[in-house]
C-alpha cells in the first residue's frame, strides 16, 4: 500500500530508503528483486531518482503517476537484485541522489 507515495521526491526520504533498505512507497523492508521506476532516459543511463520499491508498489505507483502528476511520461520498471547509491558531487549537472542497479534481472 502506497502510504509514502507523497515523499518519493523528498531527498531525505530517498536517502533513508536507500540506506535503511526500505520501500519508498510503503516504508516496509525491501524484498528481492528490488524495483526502480524511471523514465526512458533514466533506464538508458541506468541511474534512477525515485527510491527503491517493491515490485507491487512500483506497479501501483506507475499507475498513479500515469494518472496524475507523471501523466505523459513513459514510466518504465526495472528489476534488480542490488543497487549502488550515488550521492551527487558538488559540480554534477544532476544534483539529486541516484540509484544504479548493479544486477538487473
Amino acid at each position: 500500500m502506497l502510504t509514502q507515495a507523497s515523499r518519493i521526491h523528498d531527498r531525505s526520504w530517498v536517502v533513508q530508503c536507500a540506506l535503511s533498505r526500505i520501500c519508498g512507497g510503503c516504508a516496509m523492508s525491501l524484498g528481492r528483486p528490488v524495483a526502480f521506476l524511471g523514465t526512458a532516459q533514466e533506464v538508458g543511463r541506468n541511474a534512477f531518482h525515485l527510491p527503491p520499491l517493491h515490485v507491487e508498489c512500483a506497479e501501483e505507483l506507475a499507475r498513479e503517476l500515469a494518472a496524475g502528476p507523471g501523466a505523459g511520461t513513459d514510466w518504465r520498471l526495472v528489476r534488480t537484485a542490488g543497487f549502488e547509491f550515488a550521492r551527487p558531487g558538488r559540480d554534477d549537472a544532476d544534483q539529486q541522489p541516484r540509484f544504479v542497479p548493479n544486477s538487473l534481472l
Binding site: Q16, S20, R21, S29, V34, E84, R90
Partner: protein, 407 residues
C-alpha cells in the same frame, strides 16, 4: 570540540576537497568493476565455516556433556565454538549482508532484504538505526544515536548531569548485555519518554523485538538445553557464555570504531547542505581503525577498517584491506588524519573517555588532538619556498632567544 564545517576545519580548498571526492569515487568504481566470483566464494566460505562452527558447537554440547569424563572440556569447547559462530555470523556476515554488500550476487539467501541475524535485534530495525541513522549522521551530535547509545556521555559537548557518575557501571552492563541494548536501540527510549514517538510505530517495533528476543531465548535457553537431557544445565550455561562472549567482543569492536582519540564529533551545522565530498571527509574524520592480522579482521567483521567501511558501507568487506591502502595514501596526500592503532590501545582510549566523561568537563581535560594548523604552516615546502634564513643555520641553531637578540 565538535566541528561545524569539515572543509574549513581541514583547511582544504574547494579544488582539493573535490579532487579528494573524485579519487574516492574512483576507488569505489574500481571495486565495483572488479568484484566477482572470488568475492562470492569468500562470503560463501564464511557462511560454511560459521554454520560448521554452529553444528560443531551444538553437537559438542549435546554429545560431549553426556559423559562425566568429557563434560567440562565439552562444555568449554562447545561454548567457544558457539561463541565463534555467533561472532562470525553477527560481525562478518550479518552486519555486512544487511548493508547490501552482497546483493549484487543475486543470491536468494545472502541478501539485505531477507537476512535475519543471530542476535536479539530484528534486522529491519538494525537497518534503520545503523545503516541509516548511524551511517548517514556519523558522529553528528544529537543525530547519531550511537554516541553513547542513549545511556552514556561520550562527547564533551553533551551536557553533564549527576546521572553520568554511574557511567562505568552502565558501560559494564551495556558490554555484557550488548545484544539486548542493541535490540532496544531503534526504539529510541528518549523519544518515547518525551512522548514524541508514534504509538503505532512503537507498538510495531515492540512486537518485533519481543518476537525476535523470545525466539533467541527459546533457542539458546530452552530447546538446545532440552536436547541435552540431564545435562541441560551445562548446555544452558555454555550457551549463555557464548552469548556473553559475543556481546563483549562486538561491544569492544564497535566502541573502537568511533570513540578512540582522533575520531571527531560534528555539529548539525556540518550536515546542512553537506556535499558528497564533505560527507566523505566527515566519514574519515569520524571513524577510527585498528590494526591486526587477517583473522582478527574477519572476526571483527572487517570493522578494523572502520574508515573504509564508513566511506563505502555497501562494498564487500573482504576488499576493505586493499581499499585501506589507497585511502591511507589519499589521507597522506591531503594531510587528513587517519586514526588507527593496535586494538587494545584503541579500546583503552575509548574506555578512558567513558570514565573521564562520567565527570563534569571542569574535572577532566580533553584527549582529542589539536585542530590542524593552516596548510601554509604544515605542508612540505620546496627549497624555493623556504625562507632564505634557513641557510643561516648558525642563527637558527642558537635558539629563539639568541635569534631574537640578533634580529
Amino acid at each position: 570540540m565538535a566541528i561545524s564545517d569539515v572543509q574549513q576545519y581541514m583547511h582544504l580548498t574547494d579544488e582539493e576537497i573535490e579532487e579528494l571526492g573524485r579519487e574516492l569515487d574512483t576507488i569505489r568504481a574500481d571495486i565495483e568493476e572488479s568484484r566477482g566470483a572470488a568475492d562470492a566464494a569468500y562470503i560463501n566460505r564464511m557462511i560454511r565455516i560459521q554454520r560448521g562452527l554452529a553444528v560443531a558447537g551444538r553437537a559438542t554440547l549435546i554429545l560431549g556433556t553426556a559423559s562425566r569424563r568429557t563434560r567440562v572440556p565439552a562444555a568449554v569447547a562447545g561454548a567457544a565454538l558457539l561463541g565463534l559462530h555467533k561472532i562470525l555470523e553477527n560481525m562478518e556476515i550479518g552486519h555486512n549482508v544487511m548493508h547490501g554488500q552482497w546483493d549484487w550476487m543475486n543470491d536468494p539467501e545472502i541478501h539485505s532484504s531477507n537476512w535475519e541475524w543471530d542476535t536479539a535485534q530484528p534486522a529491519e530495525q538494525w537497518k534503520h538505526s545503523h545503516n541509516y541513522i548511524h551511517h548517514q549522521f556519523t558522529n553528528v551530535l544529537g543525530y547519531d544515536n550511537d554516541i553513547g547509545y542513549g545511556i552514556m556521555r561520550l562527547a564533551r559537548e553533551q551536557r553533564w548531569n549527576p546521572y553520568y557518575l554511574g557511567q562505568p557501571v552502565y558501560n559494564a552492563l551495556l558490554a555484557s548485555l550488548f545484544q539486548w541494548g542493541v535490540a532496544l536501540h531503534d526504539l529510541d527510549i528518549e523519544r518515547i519518554r518525551k512522548g514524541e514517538k508514534d504509538p503505532a510505530e512503537m507498538k510495531r517495533q515492540l512486537v518485533q523485538i519481543l518476537s525476535k528476543g523470545r525466539n533467541q531465548a527459546v533457542k539458546d535457553y530452552l530447546v538446545y538445553p532440552a536436547l541435552s537431557g540431564r545435562q541441560w544445565r551445562t548446555t544452558l550455561i555454555a550457551n549463555a557464555s557464548a552469548n556473553v562472549a559475543r556481546n563483549l567482543w562486538s561491544y569492544m569492536i564497535i566502541f573502537c570504531g568511533h570513540f578512540p582519540d582522533g575520531a571527531l564529533h560534528f555539529t548539525e551545522e556540518e550536515i546542512q547542505d553537506e556535499t558528497r565530498d564533505e560527507w566523505y571527509l566527515r566519514q574519515i574524520l569520524g571513524a577510527a581503525n585498528f590494526e591486526g592480522g587477517p583473522l582478527l579482521h574477519i572476526l571483527s567483521g572487517n570493522l578494523g577498517f572502520q574508515i573504509e567501511h564508513h566511506l563505502f558501507p555497501d562494498l564487500p568487506s573482504n576488499r576493505y584491506a586493499e581499499i585501506s591502502v589507497r585511502v591511507r595514501a589519499l589521507c597522506e596526500k591531503y594531510d587528513i588524519p587517519y586514526t588507527t592503532g593496535p586494538l587494545l590501545r584503541q579500546y583503552g582510549q575509548a574506555l578512558r573517555t567513558i570514565l573521564k566523561l562520567s565527570l563534569p568537563n571542569s574535572a577532566t581535560s580533553s584527549d582529542q588532538p589539536e585542530p590542524p594548523t593552516p596548510p601554509r604552516d604544515r605542508k612540505r615546502r620546496s627549497d624555493q619556498e623556504r625562507p632564505s634564513r634557513i641557510a643561516e643555520l648558525g642563527v637558527w641553531s642558537r635558539g629563539r632567544s639568541r635569534e631574537s637578540k640578533v634580529s
